[in-house]
C-alpha cells in the first residue's frame, strides 16, 4: 500500500511517498513561502524519483494543522483534489502529533510549539509511552508567555520542539525554567513522518473520504457577520 504524504501547515512545504518499507522519496522547502507553486511539481518529482505512478497511490495523507491558514489551504485542497481524482481515501493528521513524533523517545514532557504568528503559538503536551507517544492535553492557541506559565505549573522537565519554540525561546526557556528547546533541524513537521504514521492507519482502514477532510482550526469563529447591525 503506497501512501502520499502532504505537509504544508507551517512555513515549510513538503511531500513524501512511502509504504511498508518506509519512505521512498521526500521533498521539503522551508524558505520562499510559495506553497501553491511548489507543492504539485514537488509531488510529481517525488513520484518520478521513486518510480511510482500516480495510479499506484492508495491513500493520500495530509497535515491538517493547527498551522498557518495560507499553507493549510494549499495542502488540504491539493490532498482533496488528488484523492478525488485518484478515487482513493484520505487520512488527516495533526501537525503537533507529527512534531512530537520526532522526539518520541524522550522521557521528558514533549511540547510541540508551532508559530501561529502575531505573538501566538499552537501547542499541546505529549509523553513517551511504550511504542510511541500519548497526547496529554488538547491542542490550543495562546501567547508564548501563557505557554511558559503553563509549563512552569507542570514543574516537569520539558522538551519544546517546533518553529514557535525557536522563535520564542527566550520567553519559553527563561531562567530557572526546566525547559529545553529542540534543535532547528527538527523545527518543521516532516512529510516522511506523516507517511510513516499514516501507513499503519491506512492498513487498518482508518481513513475518510476526501469530502470529509477538514482543517483543524483552533481559532474558531462560529458567528455570521452582522451586516444588519451595520446598516441600522
Amino acid at each position: 500500500m503506497i501512501v502520499l504524504g502532504i505537509e504544508s501547515a507551517t512555513a515549510q512545504v513538503g511531500c513524501a511517498l512511502g509504504g511498508v518499507e518506509g519512505v521512498f522519496a521526500s521533498f521539503h522547502a522551508s524558505r520562499g513561502r510559495r506553497h501553491a507553486e511548489t507543492l504539485v511539481p514537488a509531488i510529481e518529482f517525488v513520484c518520478r524519483s521513486a518510480r511510482i505512478e500516480f495510479r499506484e497511490i492508495s491513500v493520500v495523507a495530509v497535515d491538517i494543522g493547527p498551522g498557518l491558514f495560507t499553507g493549510l489551504r494549499v495542502g488540504i485542497a491539493t490532498a482533496k483534489a488528488m484523492a478525488s481524482a485518484l478515487r482513493v481515501p484520505v487520512i488527516g493528521m495533526s501537525s503537533l502529533d507529527l512534531l512530537a513524533h520526532q522526539v518520541r523517545h524522550s522521557p521528558r514532557l514533549i511540547v510541540p510549539v508551532i508559530d501561529a504568528r502575531r505573538g501566538e503559538v499552537f501547542s499541546a503536551t505529549y509523553r513517551h509511552v511504550q511504542g510511541g507517544i500519548q497526547r496529554l492535553s488538547d491542542p490550543k492557541v495562546g501567547t508564548a508567555a501563557e505557554l511558559a506559565n503553563d509549563l512552569r505549573a507542570t514543574n516537569s522537565e520539558s522538551l519544546l520542539i517546533g518553529d514557535g519554540a525557536i522563535r520564542y525561546a527566550s520567553e519559553l526557556a527563561e531562567e530557572g525554567a526546566k525547559v529545553e528547546i529542540g534543535s532547528v533541524g527538527m523545527q518543521w513537521p516532516s512529510a516522511g513522518d506523516l507517511v510513516e504514521l499514516a501507513h499503519p492507519r491506512a492498513l487498518r482502514e482508518e481513513f475518510i473520504q476526501p469530502s470529509e477532510l477538514q482543517p483543524l482550526y483552533l481559532r474558531k469563529a462560529d458567528a455570521e457577520i452582522n451586516w444588519e447591525q451595520r446598516s441600522a
Partner: protein, 169 residues
C-alpha cells in the same frame, strides 16, 4: 479618537499617505464607511506612500490582493463574506507578520476575529441632497479609532501627521 476632513479624493489620498508614513510591519488598518465613501481611494494614497506603483483597485471580488512596496500591502475587502470564519480563513493576522501591512475594507465587520491591535479609519460624508449646498459632496469626514498598544504608542505622531486636515479633538 482623531477627527479629520478632506475636501476631495486627492486630499483623501494625501491624508492616507500621511498615515502610511507611520506604518510598520504587522500593522492592520480597518476601513469603515458606506459604498462610495472613498475606502479604495484611501488605499490608493496609502499604497502610493508605500512606494507601490501598480494601480490599486477594489478587491471586492478577489477578497485580498498583495502589492509589493516598501512593505507588502495586503488589500482586503470582506464585503462579499457572510461568516466570520471566512475572515479568519483569509489569514490576515499571519500574513502581516511577514513584513506586510493589511488594509481591510469594511474591516469594522472583521473586528470580532482580529487581534485587538489596529487603527480603524471611519469615512463618512453628507449624502443628504437637501442639506446645505455649501458643503460639497466631495467632502469626507474621517474618524480614527486606535485600538491596542502598537498604534497607541503612535497616537501623537498620528495627530501631528494629520494636522493639515484635523478638525476637532
Amino acid at each position: 479618537m482623531i477627527h479629520a476632513t478632506t475636501s476631495g479624493p486627492e486630499q483623501t489620498r494625501e491624508l492616507a499617505a500621511a498615515i502610511a508614513q507611520l506604518v510598520k510591519s504587522g500593522d492592520v488598518v480597518l476601513l469603515a464607511g458606506e459604498l462610495g465613501a472613498g475606502k479604495t481611494c484611501f488605499t490608493q494614497g496609502f499604497g502610493r506612500a508605500l512606494g507601490i506603483e501598480e494601480t490599486i483597485t477594489s478587491p471586492t471580488f478577489t477578497l485580498m490582493r498583495p502589492y509589493e512596496g516598501r512593505l507588502r500591502l495586503l488589500h482586503a475587502d470582506v464585503y462579499r463574506l457572510e461568516h466570520l470564519q471566512e475572515i479568519v480563513d483569509l489569514g490576515i493576522g499571519e500574513l502581516v507578520d511577514d513584513d506586510a501591512v493589511a488594509v481591510i475594507e469594511w474591516g469594522d465587520m472583521a473586528e470580532p476575529v482580529l487581534p485587538a491591535d489596529f487603527l480603524e479609519v471611519r469615512i463618512t460624508y453628507d449624502d443628504d441632497p437637501n442639506s446645505d449646498e455649501a458643503v460639497s459632496d466631495e467632502v469626507r469626514m474621517f474618524d480614527l479609532r486606535i485600538v491596542g498598544a502598537s498604534w497607541g504608542n503612535r497616537t501623537v505622531a498620528l495627530q501631528r501627521a494629520l494636522v493639515p486636515w484635523v478638525t476637532g479633538p
